[in-house]
Amino acid sequence: MLIAERLAGRRFFVTGGTGFLGTALIERILRSIPDSEVVALVRPGRRSDPGERIARDILRNDCFARLRSELGEDFERSVASRLHAVAGDVSTDGLGLDAAGRALLASCDVVIHSAATVSFDAPIDHAVEVNLLGPARVAEAVALARAEGGTPSHLISVSTAYVAGAHQGETIERLLSEDRFSLNVDWEAEVRSARRLREDLEDASRLPDRLREFAKRAHDEQGASGTHLLAARAERLRDDWVRRQLIDAGSARAQTLGWPDAYAFTKALGERALVARHGPDSAAPVPISIVRPSIIESALAEPRPGWIRGFRMAEPIIISYARGLLREFPGVPEGVIDVIPVDLVVAAIVAVAARGPKGPKGAETPVYHVASGVRNPLLYGDLVQLVQEWFGRHPLYDEKGQPISVPEWSFPGRGRVQRQLRQATRLMSSAERGLKFVPFRHRQAEWAAKLEDRQTLAERALGYVELYGAYTETEARYRIDRLLELWGTLEDADRSVFCFDPAVIDWPHYVSEVHLPSVVERGRVRTSPTRSVGTDRETRLRRAVLSAERHLAVFDLEHTLIASTVVDSYAWLASRHMGADARVGFVADRLGAAPRWLSLDRRDRGDFLRSFYRRYEGAAVEELERDAWDLFHEFLLPRSFPAGIARVRHHRRLGHRTLLITGALDVVVEPLRPLFDDVVCARMTQREGVFTGRLAELSPIGEARAQLLDRYATEHGLSLDESIAYADSSSDLAMLEAAGYPVAVNPDARLAAIARRRGWLVEHWTRAHGGTSRLLPLGGLEARSLVIDRRRGDT
């Protein structure tokens, strides 16, 4: 009897359906087994119900393109009747199923557990919940269902060949408990320890010194961006710290016990837990088969050659190599790299399902390896050569449109590569730290941000080596005798439909024609020298910003539209009526005070403005108002960025409302009013015609800007999501974040880094070169204009 006939009409319960293997599995069952049904366990999303998640995360994947075209218009209806979603989570006891979910599980015939956290660097507590306890939880649910008269007759648990650990020599298909070389670790103790570690680390992360360090780092990164944002960032850093400690603890524990990483380690203990709780000798036995694939990569043929989901283990390494970032990767050229195409794994699982829980020779809990290393080995050296040749023919291109030549690999040991990469990372990170404290703007700030990008890439490369090095250096061989025995029982028709014999893989063809083209296509890399990707993105962002659909454009003033600060304005105004001698004294005084102002400004802009504006105490209102016009025309306008001014006007032409938010004084801003629909600025109180030096209200800076913007939008019935914010400094982060379309203008190094990371539009606006300019912002050096009577239309 053919597999399809044997399984026809059966109902499958599948966990991990949104994953790489799970998606392919569901597709295959629906496409190749007549009248079969699938119940997929899906984690409830925050917004969508499980049905929507299935539609979005499974059915919309191009994996289903083939089935979609085969069924045509019938696809939706047919799939809707055969694919059911049930909300649940393998990291919760009882799988988090409600009564209906349990009933649905009870109605299934075969349960396939493929859910796992495949990330090799998951935090240990998470890996323990999912990988270690997950299989036993699924088995528990199956046992319960069977006890209540349910139909599940077979649990297939997907594991990994690497549960055998990093030891040398051959591994045969048997339970770990039957393997003398496998260390019997007390899995229950590991569970307790991982959970406790999480709690301990949460506590440790809250120690005052550590909290102060997070706060300091948040400030280093974002500057005076406001309490709220700094707090959010510090909390993120704390979370990250806990996470990193847990990752570190996991890999340390795994490596001490002889596994390459926490993934293989927790999967191994997961098998043990499964068998201990529900194996044949347990109190609640469940018929179980275990399938252990090696490294799963893109499909050989089904549903189409090259199909892959997610960016997995080998892909980022290959792309990093092709981009010239990863110059060397450890590994022995004679070593075997055990890769298996996803469709072979799927076919093997289907065949195991068709055979049923009883293995050959009556094995109670049969284990099947799905691996290529013994029957059709791919040597690491050969793989590297194939990759090298392929990128020689199809190079990637750098941002200037030049082809990147790929390095020759020298197959160094892991230690050397790690050392080199660590040095590079350290060097770049100190260079970057240094740059952050230099008040760069414009292109220099971009360079700093680029350096940071390169550092991230270098760090990632180091991460790959640390994570995956073990897999290219492993000298274990995974025998597939039982798999081949199963293969031997198949009829010819099944062999062609559900092929899982690794011998069919023609490695050079698979690598060059199937896998690499698919990886590069999905890698978002430049594969031709034409037009820079960066420019396209920039143009696209700018077009979005200048779309008629936007509502509101809000601008910061200093260094966003004009290369000047409140200090310059003050100096100009204060010095304009001075004699030459006084001016010299004034300059000296100002230079002396500059460092103090600068440091105050860095710490808190609000404090800085408050204390700085005291200097206006006693200034005659009328005179200042008059002088401010000359300040604008003679000092500020020549320092303006024409492209910025043009941008404000462009927004107005598009019908957007334009708003200026600045900490500058109202008298100074007055001449700029006609440029905007509205202006929010600082205001000083006055008494008997002179300024008091005190601000009438809190100045519109930092976080306050975000609130102002929010209030303004609400009052005018505008949507913040449709708003654009322009600013130059990380202290405006709150305002930038509040707007749907943030634009960093001539950003300082911190903002440049943030803008790059978040993909914001960055504009480089410069002063017009033909303007008059002076080294020092002193007024009165040039002849002043007259005809004051015309100002402000009071002729």
């Binding site: 016009w629 604008f632 025309h633 003679e634 306008l637 020549p638 303006s640 024409p642 492209a643 001014i645 043009a646 006007r649 001449p671 006609p674 440029l675 002063r767 017009a768 070169h769 033909g770 303007g771 008059t772 300019s773 040039e782 002849a783 002043r784 204009s785 007259l786 005809v787 009577d789 015309r790 100002r791 002729t795």
Partner: protein
């Protein structure tokens, strides 16, 4: 020794290299043998007693006018208008002729008991003058007496309260001018006729007008039909201004016109070589040239700009006449021709010129690419009577760095014109149709024009229209040493050496072309026969 007239030199083997202005610098170029170089006449002698001459002119008016003293009476409203900072070029050494004339006018007014006197700078759509510029043009005494009381004003073409519409000419042209001037009992207009286009009815009809009025003659059509606008009988610009001027007169506005002319003594003694003929350079001239060129090469651009813009010309008055507008202008025009006219035989295939650092619209500022085009194709090209120096379809080669640099306070709308208009079209008609209105009425430009020192939003369009006749006439414009991006943006061709430029020109005019070099400044008017 009386000054020598203008001169056309034919280049031969013994001709030394020729001076080419190059913005804020200059080069020496060797022109092909057989080329012609047109040299300006030497500066005419100054009037011996300028103040006496002014008094004489005011007392002995020309045409249908009484002497100024007879026109003044107590209780009258008197408005004295004067040409703005665009004249003369370069700004002249103190005292400026405007100061000398206005002081005499004010003396007569005081003597007659006139106490309602207002001074108006006739800006049209130019930028407002700075205090320093006003003090320079009027002298400190006049400035101190009028400015603090608000009696020294600058014409505001965007102040509806201060404009009055006097009517339409037979051609349908709106005449709208400064209200204070129009409603005065007498306008005394103090002009400097630096070139043949200045003065006459243009003084009031243009200098005191609004955009609504100016657009009737500052447009591509008028400029294409002014051949050249420096020669009144062939100038549509002139005709339109005259129609308006006559309407102003008919509507009862009384103008007493005072026109002055200056000699072409353009550069102070340390730059004397700039107005000498190269083969007559003395050792001192050659040394100064070499030293200056070297210095300009080494100092930053901003510094050399400062040096050039601090040049004050030793211009001296060659004539002053006053009275009825048209008759006075005729006489002034004769003096302009006497100083500037050079007879030239026939046209050539190629016209070359070196453009200096200054034109009427960048005094104390930088010359942006649009002003470069305007100076070369608008002003220098049009310095002719009869027919252009270059044949139809010929090539103009002008030297200027043409950097895309702008003064954001003086020329804000130029920046947008360069970025938004020239990137779309360089055709004067097309931009007139598509863009002029929006620039002219833009509230931000109006704001900057009225409260700051910005040229009016529409001004860059006018500068481009100034080029309309040349653009239509020429087969190609090559900018020698120009920034390639800026030059191409304007629809011209960049060339890096004179040899390249000549090769490029031959593509258009054929092999062995004839070439004429306009050796200016000093200003000259070619009478092409």
């Amino acid at each position: 020794m009386s000054p020598r007239p203008g001169f056309v030199l034919e280049v031969d083997g013994s001709t030394p290299p020729t001076l080419f202005w190059d913005g804020e610098g200059f080069t020496l170029e060797r022109l092909p043998e057989g080329s012609r170089i047109i040299y300006a006449p030497e500066p005419l002698d100054a009037l011996k007693d300028p103040v006496g001459a002014i008094r004489h002119a005011l007392a002995h008016p020309i045409g249908d006018s009484e002497p100024l003293a007879a026109l003044l009476r107590p209780g009258m409203r008197l408005t004295i208008c004067f040409d703005d900072v665009s004249l003369p070029l370069p700004p002249m050494e103190r005292p400026d002729v405007r100061q000398m004339v206005i002081e005499e006018v004010l003396d007569l007014a005081a003597a007659a008991g006139v106490d309602d006197v207002v001074l108006v700078a006739a800006l049209a759509l130019h930028r407002r003058m700075t205090e320093a510029e006003l003090r320079h043009a009027l002298g400190d005494r006049i400035y101190e007496a009028f400015a603090p009381h608000g009696l020294l004003t600058q014409h505001d073409a965007e102040d509806p309260e201060n404009l009055v519409h006097l009517g339409r000419t037979a051609e349908g042209e709106d005449v709208e001018i400064n209200r204070r001037a129009a409603e005065s009992d007498l306008i005394v207009y103090v002009n400097i006729s630096l070139v043949a286009m200045d003065g006459g009815h243009k003084s009031v009809a243009t200098g005191l007008a609004s955009y609504r009025s100016l657009r009737h003659h500052h447009n591509p059509h008028t400029m294409r039909h002014s051949r050249s606008f420096m020669h009144a009988p062939s100038s549509e610009l002139h005709s339109s201004n005259w129609r308006m001027g006559r309407l102003i007169k008919e509507s009862g506005v009384k103008v007493f016109q005072i026109e002055t002319t200056l000699n072409t003594d353009t550069f102070p003694s340390q730059f004397a070589f700039l107005q000498r003929r190269e083969w007559e350079w003395t050792l001192k001239d050659r040394v100064t040239y070499a030293a200056t060129a070297k210095a300009l090469d080494t100092v930053p651009a901003k510094l050399s700009r400062q040096v050039f813009h601090s040049i004050r010309a030793p211009h001296a008055m060659t004539s002053v006449q006053a009275g009825e507008v048209e008759a006075t202008h005729e006489l002034a025009l004769a003096s302009v021709w006497r100083q500037q006219g050079v007879v030239v035989e026939g046209q050539s295939d190629i016209l070359t010129m070196g453009l200096p650092y200054i034109c009427p619209y960048n005094v104390n500022s930088i010359m942006n690419p649009i002003l470069v085009a305007c100076l070369g194709l608008g002003y220098f090209f049009n310095m002719y009577r009869g027919k252009p120096l270059v044949r139809p379809g010929g090539v103009l080669i002008m030297q200027h760095p043409t950097r895309p640099d702008f003064n954001p306070a003086y020329h804000p709308s130029y920046i947008d014109f360069y970025e938004q208009v020239l990137s779309e079209t360089t055709d004067p008609n097309e931009m007139h149709k598509l863009f002029e209105e929006s620039f002219a009425t833009d509230p931000w430009y109006v704001h900057l024009y009225r409260t700051g020192h910005a040229y009016h939003g529409v001004h860059p369009f006018y500068m481009w229209y100034w080029c309309a006749h040349a653009l239509e006439h020429l087969g190609r414009v090559i900018v020698l040493g120009g920034d390639p991006g800026a030059v191409r943006r304007m629809g011209f061709s960049p060339a890096s050496t004179m040899a390249d430029a000549l090769e490029m020109a031959k593509d258009v005019v054929g092999p062995s072309p004839s070439l004429t070099h306009l050796h200016t400044p000093p200003i000259l008017m070619a009478d092409v026969q």
